[in-house]
Structure formats: C-alpha cells, structure tokens
C-alpha cells in the first residue's frame, strides 16, 4: 500500500514531517549541491536579525557525550539579504515549506523583521525565536517568561498574515505556561524545544571550551526531555507543534508525532551527518510499513 507521509501544518501541506531545524542547515542553499532538497517536508532557515551579525568568537563548537554545544551567536546576513537574495535563490531549487526563523533584540526588531518575512513570497511560515541562549539582552530573554513571550507574539501577529510559530526555550521552569501564553496571544503554532544551556571546560587549559563560555547543548542526549516537553505542550494547547530536540532517526520522528508533534525538526544530527534529513525521510515509509501505519497524520498525538 502507498504510504501517505504528508501532514497538514496550519493549512500548509508538507510532503513529509521532516524539517531541518534552524541553524543546522544554513539557508538550504549550502546543501543544494549535495542532495535533492525536495525530499524535505520543510526547511527552517538560519536565524535572522535586522542587521547582519558576525556572531560570537570561536571556538563556537564543543563535543559532548551524545551531543554538542554550539555558540554561533546568530551569524547571519540580515533580514534584507534573507528576503531579497537567500529565499528567492532557495525557491529556484526547493518547492517545500520554507520557514523563516526570526530573532530580535527588541519588540521593534521582531516586528520589522517579521513584517518583511511576511511580505516575502517564498516564505510560508514565520518562526519567531525567543529562545536563543547565545546572545545577550535578547533571544532567550523574551522566551523565559510567559508575559514577555506573549508580548512578542502579539506584536508579531499584528504585522503578519502568514502562520506564526514561537520557538520556545527548554531553559524554563514551566514550558506549558509559556506555551499557553503564546497561544492566548494569537500564536498559530509552537516549535519546541531550542537548545539547553550548557558548558564544557578544557581541563588542560583550565578554560571553557566555548569562547563565549556557555552555549546551547543539543543532540541525541536531549531527546527524552524534548519529547516530554512536546507531549506536555501538545496536550495543553490546541495549536500545532513542531517537535525538535535530539531527533536522529525515523523512529524518533514517529515518537515525536505520537507525543503530539505535527512536524518534526532535526537539528544537531545534521551537524554530524549532513545527509540525516534525506535519510530519515527515506526511512519513514519503511518504518510505517513495519508499524502498520498508512497515513502519518493519523498518529499525531495518539499517545
């Protein structure tokens, strides 16, 4: 029997639920010569701010058991280059769902960038990052309280017609209350979770491995925590969730979907295996057959 891998995300039909997570797949273009991007349900583009940013000093990467720490610090060419150059170029080779990931240091910056992304034809979904652990006075600061997350949501929704997803931080005491606040403020969906604030020390040099001292920990090791948060939020909210955190196989994708995710983002695994997403997309129909699943949409939130 032909397997139906497609899912409906806020009225947008994704050919499958596999979406590379923001920051782990560049602007898609970097990998266009190495694979057929069209096997991917969606692509979440690298986090973008109003002005171009170089990001943090190096080292920005640290190896960990079952994962890695990154502290890239939102290196990006700025929103104007995203909408005028990156997205039009990506659209020439990619027909799936394009998710623009927007970061900001102020409400005005979030609004301005999201309005520009909303006006860009090639973008389908706007993912608002209120959870970057690697920049000061921004990013995660907006996502660690329900009130400020709701404030960003309302401000962005006022200037967008496209679906708006809030990407939430796991570095909070109660992610459900923040998710509910975003839903109440008008969010169309939620992406969870971003990375976990972590640290490594080089014991020979007696210094942090990461130049910025701390960074975001992600990779296979975080999967059970991310899954738990997706489960809690998906059962507490009515809006769709893109599940993210430690996903490394088709089995993980199915598990995230059973927990309540409509689409599933793959992050750190791309860094160790650039072909992770197309491999997972290819594995899915085989796993569905094994599990007796004909339509992937049907398993969402069944646990």
């Amino acid at each position: 029997m032909v397997k139906d891998l497609s899912v409906d995300l806020c009225g947008i039909r994704l050919k499958n639920p596999v979406v590379p997570a923001s920051g782990t797949f560049g602007f898609g273009l970097e990998l266009a010569g190495d694979m057929d991007l069209n096997v991917l349900g969606g692509i979440s583009l690298k986090g973008t701010t109003r002005e171009a940013r170089y990001g943090n000093p190096t080292p920005r990467i640290a190896e960990c058991e079952g994962g890695m720490i990154n502290s890239v610090g939102l290196q990006n060419p700025g929103i104007d280059v995203l909408v005028n150059e990156k997205v039009p170029a990506l659209r020439k080779v990619y027909d799936g769902c394009v998710v623009a990931n927007i970061s900001g240091f102020s409400l005005d910056e979030y609004k301005e960038c999201c309005a520009k992304a909303d006006a860009c034809d090639g973008i389908d979904i706007i993912e608002v990052n209120v959870s970057c652990p690697n920049v000061h006075n921004g990013g995660m600061a907006f996502g660690t309280s329900a009130a400020s997350a709701a404030e960003v949501t309302a401000a962005v929704k006022a200037v967008c017609r496209k679906p708006v997803f809030l990407k939430l931080s796991p570095n909070v005491t109660d992610i459900v209350s923040i998710a509910r606040a975003c839903e109440d403020a008008g969010a169309d969906g939620l992406t969870l979770v971003n990375t976990f604030l972590g640290m490594r020390i080089d014991i020979a040099r007696r210094k942090p491995v990461i130049a910025n001292k701390m960074g975001g920990f992600s990779g296979r090791a975080v999967f059970p925590i991310a899954l738990r948060m997706v489960y809690q939020v998906a059962h507490a909210c009515r809006i769709p969730v893109m599940g993210c955190g430690g996903v490394a196989s088709a089995r993980d994708v199915v598990e995230m979907m059973m927990a309540g995710a409509t689409a599933v983002q793959v992050g750190a695994e791309n860094i160790r295996n650039p072909f992770a997403c197309p491999e997972i997309a290819a594995e899915l129909p085989i796993l569905m057959d094994e599990l007796g699943i004909n339509t992937l949409q049907e398993i969402i939130g069944t646990v």
């Binding site: 782990t24 970097e30 190096t58 920005r60 990467i61 990154n70 290196q75 791309n270 160790r272």
Partner: protein, 242 residues
C-alpha cells in the same frame, strides 16, 4: 561532498603520539580535508588529506584527545564512515616557478600532496619543515623524495637548524615566488609577516559540520566573515587578519 565507508588498511605509529592511517575505498577524494566519524563520538574529526592515489587515502593525525585515541586503537580491517570532498585547498597554479612550502608539526602532512602537484606542474619546490624535537619529525623522507630541497628545524636543535621554521628560512634563504604554509596559527602568523611576496595559509579551527552550513568555524577576514571549512581552510595571505 560524499559520505562513504572506508576500510583501514594501515594505522601505525610514525612519531610521538602520531599515526599514519591509510584508508581504502571507492570514489575520488578531491577536497582539502576529510571528516571522519569515530564510533561513540558525536562530532566527526576533520583531518587534512596527506596523499591520495586511486582508492588509497593517506592521513596523518596526532592523538590529542579521547576521539583520536580511539581512532589510533582501531585495528586494520575496521570501517570508518568518512565525508570527503570538503574544503578549498592550496592552489598550485598560483606559483609561477619556485614554491616555498612551510609546515609546522601536524601542519606538515597536507603539504606533501601539494608538493607532488607542484612537481607535476614542473615547478621547483623547497620544503621547510619545523618540529619540536627529533622524535616528532614526520614525513621527512617522503618530502625528500618529492622536493628539490628540504630544510628541517627543531626547537631543541636535535635535528637540522635549531629554532623555528623562520630560522631555517633565514639560514637557507630559499628562492621562491609563492609560499604555502600550514601549521600552528602562531607559526603561520609569523611566516606570513616575515616572508615578502604572496602566499597562502591553511587555517585550523574547531569545526561543527565541516561542510559550510553550521557557521561554527567562521573567521573575520579583510573580505568579511568566511567559513574555515568551506571558504577555506586555505586563504590568501592578504585576506587574513592575524
């Protein structure tokens, strides 16, 4: 970029904590470095290509941490998953007639393949290779077999000129119209500042993906931000900010 399985044909100690590994597998290895998956470790380890002939890839690496220790203990016959076709390498065509290769420690291996390519283009090649001490010297015979002249320096003076590569260059005064360097950042900085004339340097940076999409290894250059893994690791001397 390609991902494929290679079989370890050789994995032997050639100097203090330093191993030469020969991998056999299909496909053309055309990049400056490969990224090796080590069982049990999350990130791959980028290693520069020392030599490649049809189906045989030679790498030289030093045990610096747990991952490379595991790699050094892997027996002949085991398989490794390798990403190939990574990085922009040295440009042998940039040299007109006489090339100077300056390598330090584990920066020496990628210069061997470059030396072969320069000789294939009929150019005169002088290699200056610097090490801390005698038991850390690698590939000296291989370079002597390829290059017109090989100068060695050791910090402790046990072999060749006592001091750094710059001391060996000052002593030997080799003629060149273009230089290529790979080694510790502090050595390459001094080499780029000390040598008149154009050249290029192969940089080292802690990498994430190795293929240009995670932006983990960015550096600032005179032409703006560049990714060491994709836009480099080789950069022209005039682009670099030290």
């Amino acid at each position: 970029m390609n991902k494929s399985l290679y079989t370890i044909a050789e994995n032997s100690l050639i100097a203090t904590k330093t191993y030469q590994m020969v991998l056999e597998g299909d496909g053309v290895v055309d990049g400056e470095f490969v990224d090796i998956g080590i069982p049990g470790y999350f990130l791959r380890r980028p290693l520069s290509v020392c030599d490649w002939e049809e189906g045989r890839l030679t790498l030289v690496y030093k045990v610096v941490g747990e991952g490379t220790k595991v790699l050094s203990e892997m027996p002949v016959g085991s398989e490794l998953e390798v990403l190939t076709g990574l990085g922009r390498g040295f440009d042998p065509a940039a040299c007109r007639e006489q090339a100077l290769l300056v390598g330090g420690g584990l920066g020496v291996p990628p210069l061997l393949l470059l030396a072969k390519r320069l000789k294939a283009q009929g150019k005169r090649v002088t290699a200056v290779l610097g090490f801390n001490k005698a038991d850390e010297i690698i590939l000296a015979d291989e370079f002597r077999a390829v290059c017109d002249e090989v100068l060695i320096s050791t910090v402790d003076g046990s072999v060749g000129v006592k001091g750094f590569v710059t001391d060996a260059i000052a002593a030997g005064r080799p003629a060149f119209d273009y230089f290529y360097t790979c080694g510790p950042m502090v050595m390459m900085k001094v080499v780029c500042q000390a040598l008149d004339g154009p050249g290029e340097a192969s940089l080292e940076e802690r990498m994430g993906c190795g293929a240009g999409f995670c932006y983990g290894c960015s550096i600032q250059t005179k032409n703006g931000p560049r990714r060491v893994c994709k836009d480099g690791p080789v950069f022209k001397k005039e682009e670099l900010i030290w």
